[in-house]
């Protein structure tokens, strides 16, 4: 039996994330691994990661409301925030991608059969880079809720999907931003799959300081990625604790 001297481990923050096996979200049933995840010590492949830069973002990608010569229908909103890592450091110059349904709750996707009208001026796709302080900002319209077939009378709360890379393989994150006080939370198994203490981190805050007079409402959504510091593994802080 080989005994390895492993490199430093990093705080995994398991208490923040949904279980892969979340039966109320039926699609997890045949897709969640049943064996415990194996430890992958963070070596060179995991400490590095894709640094995708300005060549992935084009002018206007941060404004989802203008497309094909017209303006999207719906409540115009500004969404902004700061991306940090769990060690408190800002994450600069990282690619942030978003996608969402239109104001009627329909995606511009061939497989979305919800018969809300498609908006010819809304693709629901945006991109930007965070600035030197990890800040981002884009303009869009508030997405609608939509029904799905997970359970009887199932509706997804309004949400915007986010994709972030960070600066190492371990920091990759796909998440969803929700809106404050959404009445659909109580029945949504995707939102509810998140440990209760962590759910508030998925919900944006109405931000009057970002609201633009006579033009758009403002929402703030700060995002925290995995840390990159050499934090020793501390088992008493690892699972289930949450002191935020």
């Amino acid at each position: 039996m080989t005994t390895l001297h492993l490199p430093p481990q990093y705080r995994a923050d398991a208490g923040s994330h949904p279980l892969l096996d979340s039966p109320a979200y039926r699609s997890t049933a045949l897709r969640h691994p049943t064996r415990p995840l194996r430890l992958l010590p963070q070596r060179l492949t995991e400490l590095t990661g894709p640094l995708l830069g300005a060549d992935r973002v084009h002018p206007g990608d941060d404004d989802l409301t203008q497309d094909r010569g017209g303006e999207a229908v719906g409540q115009r909103i500004v969404v902004h925030g700061q991306v940090r890592d769990s060690d408190g450091r800002a994450v600069p110059s990282t690619l942030l991608e978003v996608w969402q349904a239109n104001a009627g709750g329909r995606y511009a996707h061939v497989l979305d059969r919800w018969p809300a009208p498609l908006d010819p001026h809304f693709t629901g796709v945006g991109r930007c880079l965070t600035d030197s302080e990890g800040r981002y900002r884009f303009t869009t319209i508030k997405p609608g809720a939509y029904p799905w077939k997970n359970h009887a009378n199932a509706w997804r709360p309004a949400h915007i999907h986010f994709s972030l890379f960070g600066q190492s393989f371990t920091q990759r994150l796909i998440t969803q931003m929700y809106f404050p006080d959404d009445p659909m939370f109580f029945q949504d198994p995707i939102y509810l799959s998140t440990p209760e203490a962590a759910r508030s981190r998925l919900v944006s805050a109405y931000d009057h300081s970002a609201t633009v007079e006579e033009w758009a409402l403002g929402f703030r959504f700060d995002i925290v990625l995995r840390g990159r510091g050499a934090t020793p593994f501390e088992s008493d802080q690892e699972v289930g604790s949450d002191d935020v």
Partner: protein, 188 residues
């Protein structure tokens, strides 16, 4: 190994934003025209096929790859200097398969004089996956290096599930999310 200067204290620590599923409707946003071309002039094709616990093809998966160049370097400040993109992103097709054009990575140094056998890190996203799952692809023509790779050694008799099959023009790996042939997945 890392040049980060500070050790964070508990008081500065923030809890992370929870992961959520990518859902089925990411296709307008995430795939890129060149996403499959980790190296458009590469001489190796990697095909990764994703299956669920019933053996059904996961046709709404997104597969991402991250790998070193042929010399074991990454395009990253901590990666030894390389202009090789190293990153691939490809949605699964109707056969649950993502296809990448690339080069075979070189071996990588690890702690205590260990050497990591050539490998590619894989992230799998899909509807029904509330968090990505992470695994690795190893190469079947690296038997000697694979036999001493610290990650494969840690997997014992499951190590073979991460070793791709040689096919014409490249390599193929089946990723089983669940079931008797379940792929070993990693906490990172």
């Amino acid at each position: 190994m890392t040049s980060e200067p500070t050790t964070p204290s508990r008081t500065t620590h923030s809890w992370t934003t929870p992961s959520q599923t990518i859902g089925p409707f990411f296709h307008a946003a995430l795939p890129w025209a060149d996403g499959s071309d980790v190296d458009p002039d590469g001489d190796v094709t990697l095909t990764v096929r994703v299956l669920d616990g019933a053996g059904e093809l996961v046709t709404d998966a997104l597969v991402e790859t991250w790998q070193a160049d042929a010399g074991g370097r990454f395009d990253h400040p901590e990666g030894g200097g390389s202009s090789f993109r190293g990153f691939g992103r490809c949605p699964a097709d109707a056969t649950g398969t993502a296809v990448f054009r690339t080069v075979k990575p070189g071996p990588l140094p690890a702690e205590d004089g260990l050497v990591q056998s050539p490998h590619v890190d894989l992230s799998i996203f899909a509807r029904g996956l509330l968090h990505r799952v992470v695994t690795r692809l190893y190469f079947p023509d690296e038997a000697a290096a694979n036999a001493t790779d610290p990650v494969l050694l840690s997997l014992g008799s499951d190590a073979g599930r991460l070793v791709a099959t040689a096919v014409a023009g490249g390599y193929h790996l089946d990723v089983h999310l669940q079931g008797a042939a379940e792929t070993p997945f990693f906490a990172v």
